[in-house]
């Protein structure tokens, strides 16, 4: 009993002291929480270290940036449910839109606050094939050939895989003079060639790479380059299609929380830092395409040129794309309800 009481008192004391200690320390040290999606762990580790130096030089203040990573949707739900992110850097704008709408911790027009749709670095959707490209896969239309097995994740559970789906759809629209029916047929055929729909993008990489299933993996270019480099340049090749989608993983200050923490200024500076040459160079090293024209000229040389359409141009933004294609009963579900019969 006595120990119980002691523990209770201690806990109470700690909860009372903790916030006071936090504000007192805020003068010479500040902490930011960057809630991000899965494949940016290494990237932000490097960027954070660099930003800490820059911030120290500029203000004399130490900044520690904590990172949290997970599936983009799961991270957004955590923020909505109260995870106190100062900044969010997620895989698709839809997830930040939902934070704005449900969590109300940032304004609805958050994506207008920073250049390029608040996307400091982007990627595109590319193909990974087996070494030597034995099936001769060059473009999206090769993916619907009956002899080709395609690996991609389930767009209902994976934000990243939604970009893959939309890339295929946009290609088919362009090829068929904007015919929705033709695009639907094309995407339907493509998903008939998919033997496994993993729940997340990493899962489909494992299926393709470790289990040797499928002839082509649809992936973000940065993920494709990273996995080829890590898992064997002698085993895989990367194919860039004739046209692809500009994958925009956006960033935003989670304003209400930042205000509460008194971190608005440093959070903003942190996100602006992502657009500087220094950060863009780090991003390019991690296979993300820089978005600033100057950085693109400087660091973009390594990336093959590919005409890219954006989600706003072709689909009228995420909210619309989500509703038409990925909501329950949407086009993706229809593909499977007709395929199953």
């Amino acid at each position: 009993m006595k120990t119980l009481k002691t523990i209770a008192r201690l806990t109470l004391a700690l909860t009372l002291i903790a916030p006071i200690g936090g504000t007192a320390a805020a003068q010479d040290k500040v902490t930011l929480l960057n809630v991000s999606y899965d494949p940016t762990r290494e990237l932000y580790k490097e960027i954070n270290a660099r930003f800490a130096q820059v911030w120290k030089q500029r203000t004399g203040q130490d900044v520690e940036i904590k990172q949290s990573h997970g599936g983009s949707g799961a991270q957004a739900r955590a923020v909505i449910d109260g995870l106190e992110a100062d900044v969010v850097t997620l895989g698709l704008a839809y997830d930040i839109d939902e934070i704005a709408q449900r969590g109300k911790t940032l304004p609805a027009d958050w994506q207008k606050k920073l250049p390029h749709n608040s996307t400091p670095f982007a990627s595109t959707v590319a193909f990974v094939v087996r070494k030597g490209n034995p099936k001769g896969i060059k473009d999206w239309n090769d993916l619907i050939r009956p002899d080709v097995q395609v690996i991609t994740a389930n767009p209902k559970t994976s934000g990243g895989a939604r970009w893959n789906y939309l890339g295929a759809w946009g290609y088919a629209l362009q090829k068929n003079k904007g015919s929705e029916a033709a695009a639907r047929e094309f995407v339907g055929k493509l998903y008939k060639n998919v033997p496994v729909l993993d729940a997340g993008a990493r899962g489909s990489t494992t299926t393709f790479v470790e289990r040797g299933i499928g002839d082509v993996l649809i992936a973000w270019e940065n993920e494709a380059l990273l996995s080829v480099k890590q898992l064997g340049p002698d085993k895989f090749d990367i194919v860039i299609p004739s046209v692809s989608i500009l994958a925009e993983p956006p960033v935003a200050v989670n304003e209400v929380v930042a205000q509460k923490h008194g971190t608005t200024k440093v959070a903003r500076a942190y996100l602006e830092f992502l657009y500087t040459d220094a950060a863009q160079g780090i991003a390019a090293k991690h296979y993300f395409r820089p978005t600033g024209p100057r950085s693109l000229a400087k660091y973009g040389g390594d990336f093959p040129k590919v005409p890219q359409f954006t989600i706003d141009q072709v689909f009228g933004g995420w909210a619309k794309a989500q509703k038409t294609h990925f909501a329950d009963g949407g086009v993706f579900d229809q593909i499977y309800s007709t395929a199953g019969k």
Binding site: G73, A74, R77, E98, R102, N154, K156, T157, G159, P195, V196, L197, D198, A199, G203, T206, T207, E210, R211, G212, I213, Q322, F326, A327, D328, D333, Y336, S337, G340
Partner: protein
């Protein structure tokens, strides 16, 4: 002769002074514990679902995809639990009755599915049972696909459920005196009769408990199954995946609707198993 059973002793009359100290304290603690960990979380489930209204609930909970998912989840979980019932009993029997080298290692291995992170189990099982995997490759030439089919899902659920049966049955088997088998034999029972009429009735309550635990574990399993299931809509989509897919769309109410159905289905099956267990316990006693 009444073998030790994993059931509580009937409570004495409330006024009788308990031997154990602190009845009120422990009782209060238990109630609070259950309240915060089980009752409140589960009731929010119902509250969230209630926001849908009856029509919305029916629509979310009875869509063809949801029904296919319940069928798959319940079917695979029941199959896995029954398979574990048979083979878990066998394992428990071997571990208690026979002596062999490496027995303690085998005994420890049984607990591994408890300890292993389920995602690790899922990835490992998928690697082994996919068409290019060590085990999958043996079956693939015969046209049997394991990973990415309901069969693969059942394999994963069997794996995670095994310890429940073994660990429920084992202690009962250990306390079952061997003399009663000898008595049965001297009374003229053959070995099959001894097993069926003497040993099995004593084991049944524990066995049923183990099988229902194995089922309960399987029905909610997500981590290991998503890797091996392949997640094809309408074919290999388990109910927990459907819940995740609804959450990805921020459809909290729809997700809880499916969760409520799963909860009720599991409750019905577990209560049924409880009744079987009680009857078996009475008969054995």
């Amino acid at each position: 002769m009444s073998p030790a059973l994993p059931r509580r002793v009937a409570p004495s009359t409330p006024r009788a002074r308990s031997v154990l100290p602190g009845v009120r304290l422990t009782l209060g603690f238990t109630v609070a514990y259950l309240l915060f960990l089980v009752i409140i979380p589960l009731s929010t489930l119902f509250v969230r679902t209630a926001r849908l209204g009856w029509g919305g609930f029916l629509e979310a909970a009875t869509s063809p995809r949801a029904i296919a998912a319940y069928r798959l989840s319940v079917g695979a979980s029941v199959t896995a639990a029954l398979v574990n019932g048979v083979f878990g009993l066998l394992v428990a029997w071997v571990l208690t009755r026979y002596r062999f080298t490496g027995k303690s290692i085998a005994d420890a291995l049984v607990d591994l599915p408890f300890a292993l992170p389920t995602a690790v189990a899922g990835v490992a099982l998928t690697t082994l049972y996919s068409q290019n995997g060590l085990i999958g490759a043996l079956f693939a030439p015969h046209g049997i696909k394991i990973a990415f089919t309901p069969l693969g899902i059942t394999v994963a659920l069997t794996f995670i459920g095994l310890p429940f049966v073994v660990r429920s049955v084992q202690p009962v088997l250990e306390t079952l005196p061997r003399e009663i088998e000898e008595v049965a034999a001297t009374l003229g029972a053959d070995r099959w009769q001894t097993f069926r009429r003497v040993i099995l009735p004593a084991l049944t309550p524990a066995l049923v408990a183990g099988v229902s635990l194995s089922f309960a574990r399987a029905i909610g399993e997500y981590g290991s199954v998503v890797f091996i299931s392949g997640n094809m809509p309408g074919r290999t989509e388990i109910a927990p995946l459907l819940i995740m897919s609804k959450l990805e769309q921020y459809d909290y109410a729809g997700a809880t609707a499916i969760a409520v159905v799963m909860l009720l289905l599991s409750a019905v099956i577990l209560i049924g198993a409880g009744l079987v267990q009680r009857r078996a316990a009475k008969r054995a006693a």
